[in-house]
């Protein structure tokens, strides 16, 4: 299928542990989808595997506009049009957000002038102007980091945006702001997959389709009624309706190294 992100039978594991278990998912350009699931269901792993993070054993298929994603390097996937907003964007001292965006835009064939003007425009729109000349993600609040991620997507204009836990750790005003940004991103040539643990952001964004992910698979897909069911009874209600047995409640392994300034600190 063209004009879509298409995932078929995607399985992935790390350290001998299976996380994704034959996942199927199609997100067409022009649509906003929400992927919901409890902690440990594999939502972030799906993002990482699609983006191309090293360290996962991966099988199955994933394509963007018919191009095989899994055969490509991280940066090739990005230039093809896949862009993830990170749950924990890493801090990079000494590299300014502006310089980073100029380089990334140049990789997409923009001239420096075009890049700069787009950066200015989008920074004004997402209230990021004062962060442009600061070190990347350094000393940003949780909400500012999410905004920075969305700003980057706006500058780089992907075909498919993966928004990993775009609302986690945010107060309600920040959630509303992020939701507004997601609604503003809607465009005929852009697909959005919004990954979230909580349904509260769905009060402010209306996705075209909602998917529920449990134990590494999409167990149900639907419209607004799924969000209502979750709101009322949580994942437990969905499990019961589908006859799914609760397995290990062990939370997902968090990539703790995202937090550290440097993993080699001797203190």
């Amino acid at each position: 299928m063209t004009g879509a992100l298409e995932v078929r039978g995607l399985s992935a594991g790390v350290d001998g542990k299976e996380i994704l278990d034959g996942l199927d998912l199609v997100v067409s350009f022009g649509e906003v989808h929400a992927l919901m699931g409890p902690n440990g269901s594999g939502k972030s792993t799906l993002c990482h595997v699609l983006t191309g993070k090293a360290g996962y054993r991966v099988s199955g298929q994933a394509s963007l506009e018919g191009e095989d994603l899994l055969a490509l390097e991280v940066d090739q996937r990005s230039r093809l049009g896949l862009l993830q907003s990170f749950q924990y964007p890493t801090e990079v001292r000494g590299v300014s957000l502006r310089d980073f965006m100029i380089e990334a835009a140049e990789e997409r064939g923009l001239s420096e002038g075009e890049a700069l003007s787009r950066i200015e425009t989008e920074a004004a729109r997402f209230d990021m102007t004062r962060f442009l000349d600061r070190s990347l993600n350094n000393d940003l609040s949780g909400g500012e980091k999410k905004r920075s991620e969305i700003f980057q997507i706006a500058v780089l204009r992907p075909r498919m945006a993966l928004l990993d836990e775009i609302d986690s750790g945010l107060d309600i005003d920040a959630v509303k702001q992020v939701a507004r940004a997601v609604e503003e991103m809607r465009a005929p040539d852009l697909g959005v997959l919004m990954i979230t643990h909580y349904n509260r952001i769905l009060r402010y964004v209306t996705p075209d389709r909602i998917h529920v992910m449990i134990d590494g698979r999409i167990v149900d897909s639907g419209g607004a009624e799924l969000a209502e069911e979750l709101e009322a009874g949580g994942y437990k209600a969905i499990r019961e309706r589908l006859g799914l047995i609760e397995t290990s409640s062990e939370p997902a392994r968090r990539p703790a190294d995202f937090f550290t300034d440097t993993p080699f600190d001797v203190k």
Binding site: D75, V95, F100, A104
Partner: protein
């Protein structure tokens, strides 16, 4: 071949040399003969191979022709004076602001304490015994040097050892700005043993930057000491690029209450270079603050060494001190040693250190690449960013561009030739 012996010593102590100076040199000579060249077994020479012996080196008879200034000095927009020391001999010295005196005048002033002990090692003893020339920069109380005095220290004659000597005295409430640029002749295997004494009076401010850009065939062992008076400030910068062995042995003594010291530096080793930093920050007065911030990279077979001791003396209450040393190891055979240390004899202090050794961080590379930057481009951006933090803090402005370019050039050349992993 002239040897560093008694006969040579007699030759350089002339009839006009004051008696006290002669006896100082003879005393130092005895220490010199009693000590051996560093072998690497000594604690403060660990990891380092010092591959010169005085037996195979000659003193300088006559200074060679000055070398070109090089890109760093050339890029400085303004200067307030110029000192040129070639092969240990002072060829030029003038300043619009400070009083610049030549050695023989130093001889007349035994009041200035030797900040590096003569018996620190064989090289400091050699310096005390054989150094016969040098420059003293005096900034009188209340005087402010807006633009830097440029001190070029050069080595030009293969097979020689030279003993350049510079001291800077910043008077009360005065401000000095000094740039020292080290260079040596292309391909010349020689040894430079500069001695730098920095004395900052009460309320004085010193900005001092050295750019060590000697040829990769040469060795430089700099002994640099600073002593700080009450409420004085010293900002010392170091850019380490050159030398088969480039070593800086730095001591900062915060003697006066309320004094503060900042040491920032960057180094980038390539080929088979060793860049070696030994620092002791000694807090003696009360309410003193210090910060050491050093970042370096090594590629090919190069290695770097950082040992940094923060010593807080018994009476140094309300000391605040920190040191940071970050190292990027870019090739499989490159090595970085980083050994921060604390010696705390007083309990009313805030102190800490951070040290790291490793490759470019994979999380950083992943993040940058996820935005479409190729691996090579992401690496280049990270290298720039890594050093930018130091470049932003250099105590003397105007050198940002050539420093950044040189560091970057080393990396991209190695990257293009596949020498970095």
């Amino acid at each position: 071949m002239t040897a560093f012996d008694q006969q040579y010593l007699s030759q350089i102590t002339t009839s006009t040399t004051p008696a006290w100076r002669r006896s100082q040199m003879e005393g130092a000579y005895r220490v010199f003969t009693a000590l051996d060249e560093p072998t690497g077994a000594e604690e403060d020479w660990r990891y380092v191979e010092f591959d010169h012996t005085f037996a195979e080196l000659e003193p300088v008879a006559q200074a060679g022709a000055p070398l070109e200034s090089g890109p760093f000095v050339a890029s400085l927009p303004e200067r307030s004076g110029h000192v040129l020391i070639v092969d240990g001999q002072v060829l030029e010295h003038h300043s619009d602001v400070a009083t610049v005196l030549r050695l023989n005048d130093l001889d007349a002033d035994p009041g200035f304490p030797a900040l590096v002990p003569v018996d620190h090692n064989k090289l400091t003893a050699a310096h005390a015994a054989f150094s016969t020339d040098g420059v003293s920069v005096e900034v009188t109380p209340g005087t402010v040097m807006d633009t830097p005095l440029v001190v070029e220290v050069q080595g030009s004659i293969p097979g020689t050892v030279s003993f350049p000597h510079l001291r800077v005295r910043v008077g009360e409430d005065a401000e000095a700005s000094v740039l020292v640029a080290y260079r040596s002749a292309d391909g010349a295997r020689l040894l430079m043993v500069p001695k730098i004494d920095l004395e900052v009076g009460d309320g004085g401010r010193l900005r001092f930057l050295s750019v060590q850009g000697i040829d990769h065939a040469a060795t430089s062992v700099v002994h640099q000491r600073a002593t700080l008076g009450r409420d004085s400030t010293s900002r010392i910068g170091e850019i380490g690029l050159g030398g088969r062995l480039g070593r800086l042995d730095l001591g900062v003594s915060l003697v006066g209450d309320g004094s503060s010291s900042e040491v920032v530096g960057l180094y980038f080793g390539e080929g088979d270079q060793t860049l070696d930093y030994r620092m002791v920050i000694d807090h003696q007065g009360r309410s003193t603050t210090s910060d050491v911030f050093l970042k370096g990279a090594v590629e090919d077979d190069a290695q770097s060494v950082f040992t940094g001791l923060l010593r807080i003396e018994k009476d140094a209450a309300r000391t605040s001190t920190f040191e940071t040393n970050r190292n990027l190891v870019l090739s499989e055979n490159a090595k970085a040693h980083s050994v921060p240390n604390l010696e705390i004899l007083c309990n009313d202090v805030i102190c800490g250190h951070a040290s790291s050794v490793g490759p470019l961080e994979s999380e950083h590379l992943y993040y940058l690449r996820s935005r479409g930057l190729t691996l090579e481009r992401a690496e280049r951006l990270l290298i720039r960013g890594f050093f930018q933090e130091v470049i932003d803090r250099l105590p003397i402005g105007g050198l940002e561009e050539p420093v950044s370019q040189e560091v970057f050039r080393r990396f991209i050349t190695a990257q293009a030739e596949g020498r970095v992993a």
